[in-house]
Each structure stands twice: as structure tokens, then as C-alpha cells.
């Protein structure tokens, strides 16, 4: 039994070169379908990884209640002072509370890919801001001098937008600003930002002493509950309190899910087309081997063995297609940098990430195409009439 199946399968596989054209067509079509699926998943995974890699459980983000995004929010310096005294907020060795009031405004940057202007976040920060971002480091140049028109630029901004190289001047309103440093935060979303001294930006945008968001280091991840309870009791503040992890997870959701919602139906639709192609190939394969199969049956091979042989051929072609597609997507797209408008209404720079999970999903889809493409031809090959062997073409 197994000998029979093995023998028929080998005959099938060895004879693939005789049907090189159609077999290649199947491989390429399945590779392309897998490639499209993996391309979309790489986009979605990359975007999600950037945002989810950003948050810290130990940092609370506070915005004006109902404002939904840093851009819309507005808070007074009095509220910052109140938060500094709030329960659950950590202090350093000198007893200084680790709280950072920040401004978030948008400036134009020129996208390298299209040459058009896009929204970049300019964050006004004080000295505490650095202590609330793990992994912050200046990779080139130096930090800005407080009180001056100097700014530092995230490494991702530099990659996707022109005009932000070290030493370049940028015009914001009537003033010129100089890029004095490039910073990295280990691939997180802050790398898509430009940072400058908060007091200078408050002046430029007529914000007085107001801020837009407050970040605070928590004494422990559980302390977020103390902070929330305090916020509800304290009439002088009206804040939405979230951990940074939650804050960025919310932002990742919409866009990443949308990309997958477009990617999957597209890939499945294309898969139906490829399935028809694979079916056609296997149908031809059985067709050209009619006499051969009939001969095998005549000398005692079972119909089942013939069917398995056909099915394995189809699965092998599909698996090769899936592997080629996955490999090509990996080589072409993995690590490719792109940017899109995030929910903060500013550009989020991210890198395409072809993940193991998505490669498995792609391979499963390829093999499913191979299975259904080979199913009917396989059944057909099991029922080849023995008389075919005698029929002369």
C-alpha cells in the first residue's frame, strides 16, 4: 500500500519537468498570492510593533478629559503641579517628582517618498521628559540648550523626511531653528518626533504656561489605580488617565486592523484565482498521464495510490509557491521603512516586519490552495477507466 503510494508519488513528482510551463504557472501564482498577503501583514505588524514597543507600564499619560489625542488636549500649569503631589507618582533620590508636562504641536516635514508636506509632531519638553523615556540617547550631535531655538530630531524622522539633517536650519513661524542632535529611543514611536525646549515653544505658539499632556512615572504599575482614584476625587483636575502601554495600544489598533481588513479579503480573493490555476494545472497533469495511470491501475496499483500521487504533486507545487512568495516578500519588504498618518494626526514611521506567524499563515494559505486545487483532479485520477490503456490517441 505505502509502497504503491510512494511509487506513484515519485512518478508524479519526477514528471513535473514535462509539464514545466503549467507547474511554473502554479508556483508563481501561489507565490504572488502569498506575497500579497505577507506584504499586508508585514505592514500591519510593523506598524503595530512600533506603537506597542513604545509604551511603558510604569508611566501614566494624562490628557484633558474627552480630548482623545495629545493634539486636542490642553492643560494648565496648575494641573501639572497638582499631579506632582498626587499619590502613586514616583520621585527621584532628591525627592523631585518624576512628572513631565509636554506640548505637542504639528509642523510640516517633506516626505522623501512623495516630496509632499506631511504632519510631524514637535514636542516641547522639559528636563524630566528624558527620565520618562527608557532608552533615550543622542546618537549624533548633542542635546539642545534650554531657552534656545535648537531642536533634536528622532532617527526615524531623518529616514523618511528631508531637511532635518544635523546642522540644518528650519523655519517655524518667523524664527529659524537649528537641528543640533539626532536621538534614538530604540525604534519606538518617539523617534518619529522632533523635540525642543517647552518654554520656547510655549512662546512661539502663544500657549503661556499651558501644556497638552502630562506624563508621570508611577511607583509601580498598580499605582495607576491610586492616580485614577485621586483624579476622580480632586475637583481641580479633569483628566483622562491611562498607562502609556494602554495609550499606544489604543493608537495601534485602528490602523493595524484596517490594514489587515484590506489585506486578508484581497489575498483570499486572489487565492480563489490561484486555486483555479492550480486546479487547471493538476487537471492537465492527470489528463496527459491518463494512459500511464490506467497502466498502473491495470498492473494492480490502487485508485487511492493514484489519487494520493496527484494530491501530493499539487501540495508540493503549492508549498514551493508559498516558500518562494514568503522568501521574496522577506527579501523585498522586511525592514523597509514607511510612514503613515497615525491617530495622533501625525506621521508614524515604522518598518515592515515579516514575522514568523505571518509566514505560517501564508504557508497555510498556500497549502490550502494546493489541497483544493488538487482535490477534484486527484479524485478523477482514482477513477481513470482501465480501458484507457488500450485506447490509441
Amino acid at each position: 500500500m505505502f509502497n504503491q503510494i510512494g511509487a506513484v508519488t515519485m512518478i508524479n513528482l519526477r514528471s513535473i519537468p514535462q509539464r514545466a510551463g503549467l507547474s511554473l504557472a502554479t508556483i508563481v501564482s501561489i507565490a504572488l498570492v502569498t506575497g500579497v498577503l505577507l506584504g499586508f501583514l508585514a505592514m500591519s505588524n510593523g506598524f503595530r510593533a512600533t506603537l506597542q514597543g513604545t509604551g511603558s507600564e510604569n508611566v501614566a499619560v494624562m490628557l484633558r478629559a474627552g480630548s482623545q489625542a495629545e493634539l486636542n488636549s490642553g492643560l494648565s500649569s496648575e494641573q501639572v503641579r497638582l499631579v506632582e503631589e498626587a499619590p502613586g507618582v514616583a520621585r527621584d533620590a532628591d525627592g523631585t517628582p518624576l512628572v513631565s508636562g509636554e506640548l505637542y504641536v504639528i509642523v510640516d516635514g517633506t516626505k522623501r517618498s512623495s516630496g509632499t508636506e506631511a504632519n510631524l509632531p514637535l514636542r516641547g519638553v522639559g528636563e524630566q521628559a528624558l527620565r520618562l523615556r527608557e532608552g533615550f540617547q543622542i546618537v549624533e550631535g548633542r542635546m539642545y540648550e534650554p531657552g534656545t531655538n535648537e531642536l533634536v530630531v528622532g532617527a526615524s524622522v531623518l529616514r523618511e523626511f528631508s531637511g532635518f539633517d544635523l546642522g540644518e536650519t528650519i523655519r517655524l513661524g518667523p524664527n529659524e531653528w537649528v537641528v543640533v542632535g539626532i536621538f534614538s529611543t530604540g525604534g519606538s514611536v518617539f523617534e518619529s518626533e522632533i523635540w525642543a525646549d517647552i518654554s520656547v515653544i510655549q512662546n512661539l505658539y502663544n500657549r503661556g504656561t499651558g501644556v497638552q499632556s502630562i506624563r508621570a512615572r508611577l511607583t509601580s504599575p498598580e499605582a495607576i489605580e491610586d492616580l485614577r482614584a485621586w483624579e476622580e476625587e480632586e475637583p481641580r483636575v479633569n483628566l483622562d488617565v491611562e498607562t502609556e502601554t494602554e495609550f499606544f495600544a489604543d493608537q495601534a489598533g485602528g490602523t493595524a486592523v484596517l490594514i489587515e481588513f484590506i489585506g486578508w479579503p484581497l489575498a483570499i480573493t486572489m487565492a480563489i484565482g490561484a486555486l483555479a490555476g492550480a486546479w487547471n494545472t493538476m487537471y492537465s497533469s492527470v489528463d496527459t498521464r491518463m494512459r500511464e495511470i490506467a497502466t498502473l491501475r491495470a498492473i494492480g496499483f490502487s485508485g487511492f495510490a493514484a489519487a494520493v500521487g496527484t494530491m501530493v504533486e499539487s501540495l508540493v507545487l503549492a508549498a514551493i509557491g508559498g516558500l518562494v512568495g514568503a522568501l521574496a516578500t522577506y527579501l523585498l519588504f522586511n525592514g523597509v521603512s514607511a510612514s503613515t498618518l497615525g491617530s495622533g494626526f501625525t506621521q508614524v514611521v515604522f518598518s515592515f516586519a515579516v514575522t514568523g506567524g505571518s509566514v505560517i499563515a501564508g504557508m497555510v494559505m498556500a497549502v490550502v490552495i494546493g489541497f483544493f486545487g488538487g482535490l477534484v483532479p486527484a479524485i478523477r485520477s482514482a477513477y481513470v477507466p482501465l480501458l484507457t490503456v488500450h485506447r490509441s490517441e
Binding site: 503549467l22 482623545q68 504639528i106 510640516d108 516626505k111 510612514s339
Partner: protein
Amino acid sequence: MNDLTLIRKNLFRKKLRAILLTLSILIAFLIFGVLGAFYKVWTSGGELAADDRLVTVNRINFTVSMPYAYWSRVQAIDGVRNVSHASWFGGYYQDPTQFVQTFAIDAESYLDAYPELVFPEGQREAFINTRTCLAVGEDLAAQYGWELGQRIPLLSNIWQKTDGTASWEFDICAIFDGNTDEYPANYAIFHYDYYNEALAFNQDQIGWMVINTTDPARNDEVARAIDGMFANSPAETETTTEAAFNEAFANQFGNIALILLFVVGSAFTTILIIVGFTMVTAINERTGEIAVMKTLGFPAPRIFRMVLAESVLLSLVGGLLGLGLAWLMISGVAEAAAAFLPGLALPAEVFLTGLGLAVLLGLLTGIVPAINAQRVKIVTALGKQ
């Protein structure tokens, strides 16, 4: 039996094969049609833009406001026919997730700037004369089930009133539509003064200006005059055509055109290869027959044409079915998608491009087998058997 009958019989001699090929061609054209329609809606911002309309925003970024006084100063510039202004309200209805696209505008000049907005009898005047009126686009009204005469509160996620709330009460006294199906009637407008007087901060600031020039040829000159007027002020401006502004905004989401090109390209490469190799195989199987036809006196060019016609016919059948299905699907979701993708339809040019691609695909996949068939030598072909 004429040639066409022969071509048809040949095509469907192996029914399953013909059906499978048609199906894979259908899928490619379905994807082409659906993505083509989405792409048209996506880029419609550039096409719906009027030639004579300019947009002036703060040079830092369009989310940064500029002084209200700019509005009257621009009116004095030579070559300007009409100036209006608008401010982003950041509105939502009842719950922050129920987002409503709303702008605070100067009514008379805004309606003058956008002649595309069509109002039922009397509602245009009602909007201009009612301070608390909210003019709602038809698609938006349908989304929330709003009716004429209804009083609704809209909240802002940005602005606050001096009384500490962020809620403005509006009377819906006008429901407008666009003059074409493509025009997005999915937003609402209301009087700037009604909003501005209650603002707790950022009073007497406007978001951007919309300028109609007296002649599109003067656009550049007017744009330079406006930006020159505010140079070296705390709020410098940047003036572009409406089309360029819309295009830049669409580009913020990424290179959608390139992504679509990848997908459609993959779909077409797939069928090109599948159909191409199958046609070669199919014609090879018929070598003997073709030799017989030649013996019977069919001239080589006629055989060439017949094989080519067969693949073009196959590709047209699949292509038309695919485009037809795309049309059905798009018509099916157009209503449901009206709020965020207004004017979704399969445009004639996408359909015609699809037809052109179908003919091209037919010719490409048919050319090799057609040449092979034309070259069949009677002696060798019949000798084979």
C-alpha cells in the same frame, strides 16, 4: 460553420478548463475594478478641486491657526474674487467615537466659494440668516438619522466654552448635497461667530482661508501676494491650489498608489502566466487538427487570427464578468460606505481601462500559440501520429 463558431467550439471543447481559466481571469479583473473604484474616490480630492480655488494655511502646518484679521486683508488683494475661512471644530455627537466632521465658517462667502453645495429651496437663506443653524450634508444626516428642524448638541474634543463645557447647541435648518455624486456631503458647517464668541481660548483665530481668484491664470500671482503680505509676521502663510493641498493630504497616508499597483500587478501577472501557459498547451494538443485544417486549405494567416481571437475571446469573457461583478459589489456597498467613502462607484474610465487590459491580455497570451499554430507543418504534424 463560420470562424466564430469554430473559435467558440475550440475554446469550450474542454469545458472545465475554460471555466477555470475564466474564473482566474474574472478574479483579476474583479480586483482591478474594485481597487480602481476605491482609488478614484481616494484621489477625487484632486479632481473635485476647482481650478480657481486656493487654500491658505499657516506656514508651520495647517493645524496651526492664524488671526481672524487676515480674512479682510486678503480681500483687498488684486485678483481675488472671494475669500472665505474655516476652522476645524473636532466635533462629535453624544460619544467621542461618534465623530462628526464639522467646520466653523463664514456662511455667505463659504457658499460662494463652494458652488458645488446644493440646498433645497429656501434652506440656503435659512442657513445664512440663522445664527445657531447647522447645515448638514445629506450623507452625514443619513448616518445619524438627523432631520430638518431638529435641535442637537455637538461636542468638541478641542475647544471649550467660557462656561467650562465643550457643547454647542445647534438647530438643523438646512440639509445640503453635492451637485455631483462624487462630491462628499459627509460634513457639517455652522457660523463662525456663534462658535467664536463662546470660546474660552484661541478666540479670533481662524483655521485656514479659501480664496477664489478672478482667473485661474492668476493663481500663482495671487498666492505669492498673499504669502508676501504675511511674511515675517508671527503667523506666516502658505498658499497652494486646492488640488495640490488635497493631494498632499492624501499622500500623508502613504503611497497608496504604489501599494495598489503592487496588488493589481500581482493579480495580472498571475493570470498572464496561468492563461499564457494553458493556451500554449491547448494549442499544442491540437497540432494534428491544425494540420488537417491546413490540408483542407485554411491559409496560415487565418489560423493565426483564429487562435488569437480565441484567447482574446476568453480574456474578454473573463474580463467582462470580473468588471461586472466589481460593479455589482461596489453598487452593493456604496450606500453603506457613503459616510466615509462618498461617491463610491465604478467609473467609466476604470471600466474602459479594464476592457483595454482584457484585449491586451488576450493578445499577449494568444500571440505565442498563434505563431506556433501558424507554423505547423502538415507533414511533420501528421507524421507525428
